[in-house]
């Protein structure tokens, strides 16, 4: 660094003022100019966050929201050069600072994350599928999965109920957020645990549905094989209709 200690100190004071609004005594500045920088900085960040979190904004009081945002500017060192990714850092900050507990809204972390997932999946870099065909044998051919998704566990079903109502339904929920090919629409799907197991295997391992069913039966032999197969077949059909499964791989098994 070729800045003198004095110049660096001036920059730190200016940055501190902008982030906290605390009198920083920045040398050689005007009060009006400083006021504008603080205003512009806050507007910019606040606009980004309010656009990202419309539901959370509605659930929280203005005072609660502003306190959280002010805490974020002042205490969080933003890492991303892409301002549209900043809402994720806000979610992390809110979770680490435990605003859910402070505000008496235990669902707040899940709600913020749910809102972030929509942005995350909508903007995530394209993940191109392997060559696939539309028709095939659902049980014995490899299924090509749409890779533009995020599968997450939530404690509060904010994707199924209004945020405050979700308090009455605490449990284990699995939310699939995915982007449809061609029209790029983001959709949400609540998944029961059995389908999550199946989905994770079909997404991450080179296995057919019938091979996965055999594995699931080893883990849980209480469900008759035929019933499980019917259930999975129905799931595959729904996933095909929803464009979560794109078709059948053209790269055959050995």
């Amino acid at each position: 660094m070729l800045y003198s200690a004095k110049t660096y100190d001036s920059q730190q004071r200016l940055s501190r003022w902008v982030r906290t609004g605390e009198n920083a005594d920045v040398p050689g500045t005007t009060a009006e100019g400083l006021k504008q920088y603080r205003r512009l900085f806050r507007n910019n960040i606040n606009n980004t966050l309010t656009q990202a979190y419309p539901i959370s904004l509605e659930v929280l009081s203005n005072e609660q929201w502003n306190k959280m945002v002010d805490g974020f500017y002042a205490n969080h060192d933003a890492q991303t050069p892409h301002v549209w990714k900043l809402p994720f850092e806000f979610y992390q900050f809110a979770r680490e600072s435990d605003y859910a507990q402070k505000y008496g809204f235990p669902f707040l972390n899940d709600l913020l994350y749910f809102e972030w997932l929509e942005i995350d999946v909508y903007t995530m870099p394209n993940k191109y599928p392997e060559p696939f065909k539309e028709n095939g044998d659902a049980m014995n051919d490899l299924i090509e999965v749409n890779r533009e998704y995020s599968l997450e566990r939530l404690e509060y079903p904010v994707h199924l109920y209004a945020a405050k109502e979700s308090l009455n339904h605490k449990g284990n929920y699995f939310l699939l957020t995915y982007r449809t090919p061609k029209d790029f629409e983001v959709k949400f799907l609540d998944m029961p645990p059995l389908h999550v197991l199946f989905f994770e295997k079909i997404s991450n391992e080179r296995l057919t549905a019938s091979q996965i069913i055999d594995q699931l039966l080893v883990q849980n032999n209480e469900i008759p094989k035929e019933q499980l197969a019917q259930n999975i077949l129905g799931f595959i059909q729904t996933m095909m209709e929803e464009k979560v499964f794109l078709g059948f791989s053209e790269n055959y098994l050995n």
């Binding site: 003198s4 920045v26 009006e32 890492q79 903007t123 870099p125």
Partner: protein, 280 residues
């Protein structure tokens, strides 16, 4: 882009379809901030691709923070370089300001103290970035609402940095106007003191006068007459064409209004080009 008159417009999501399928606006090129499009997939990736197939692209960065005390963001630059190459970008510009300090992005363009040590520091940073990207970058004179512990004037600060770093200048004429109003100096004299041979690109924009003492550089209004006049004056001092951008970031009017502003800019360029021909 060739050496003819090129008038561009910022490619913004709110008016993206107008660029792609509309008939009202006809820019010669588009400009975007790479930070808003790099790493982006899905719908906006597709729209951006479509736009770059239709128009030449200029990049105007937001986060490089050339005035930061810390090292340049090498991780960002490593992603930026292939992005520049992929879209055959001839001009990449950044602001003469800092937007990151002590490892925290601020997403705002804060003024660098106009001091000799700042000049040395920023020159070194620009050289590092140019060496890495293997191209000259253009540095923009920013609007600022207060000086910070200044030792030299803004024009000396800008000129020395551009000359010592051997970079190009993105001359934002509206910023010159805004700063001359806010800090009470003569805008034409400021232009005279700029290294006009280094100007690679010009920005023009509207602004918002919030009081008798203060103008904010908003890019949300139409260009006002005195800024056109300053633009005309600037071109009269230059001996070649450079791309001209109309900046408009929000509060979008009917597209015909934007096209009219671009036409005004083109007419001023044509007038000055014809005068150059007569003089030569």
């Amino acid at each position: 882009m060739n050496n003819d008159i090129n008038i561009g417009l910022g490619f913004r999501r709110e008016i993206a379809d107008e660029f792609l399928t509309g008939t009202s606006i006809k820019p010669d090129f588009i400009e975007v901030a790479p930070e808003n499009w790099m790493d982006m997939g899905g719908y906006w990736h597709a729209k951006f691709r479509e736009a770059t197939e239709k128009y030449p692209l200029i990049l105007h960065g937001l986060s490089l923070s050339i005035g930061s005390p810390e090292e340049p963001d090498w991780a960002f630059l490593k992603k930026l370089k292939p992005f520049l190459n992929e879209f055959n970008v001839e001009i990449y510009s950044e602001h003469l300001s800092f937007a990151k300090l002590d490892n925290a992005h601020l997403y705002d363009l804060l003024p660098i103290p106009f001091k000799q040590d700042s000049i040395k520091h920023v020159v070194k940073r620009i050289k590092q970035v140019q060496d890495f990207l293997e191209m000259r970058i253009a540095i923009e004179n920013v609007s600022y609402y207060t000086p910070v512990d200044a030792e030299v004037t803004e024009d000396v600060f800008v000129k020395q940095i551009v000359e010592q770093a051997d970079c190009n200048l993105l001359l934002d004429v509206n910023n010159v106007y805004v700063n001359s109003f806010n800090h009470k100096y003569d805008a034409e004299k400021f232009i005279d003191r700029m290294p006009l041979d280094k100007v690679r690109y010009i920005h023009m924009a509207g602004h918002h006068k919030i009081s008798d003492e203060l103008i904010i550089d908003t890019h949300g209004e139409a260009i006002i007459h005195p800024v056109y006049e300053l633009f005309d004056y600037t071109l009269s001092k230059m001996d070649r064409n450079v791309p001209i951008l109309l900046e408009r970031d929000f509060n979008f009017p009917e597209m015909e209004e934007l096209q009219k502003e671009m036409k005004n800019l083109r007419n001023i360029c044509i007038k000055n080009q014809e005068q150059d021909v007569i003089l030569s």
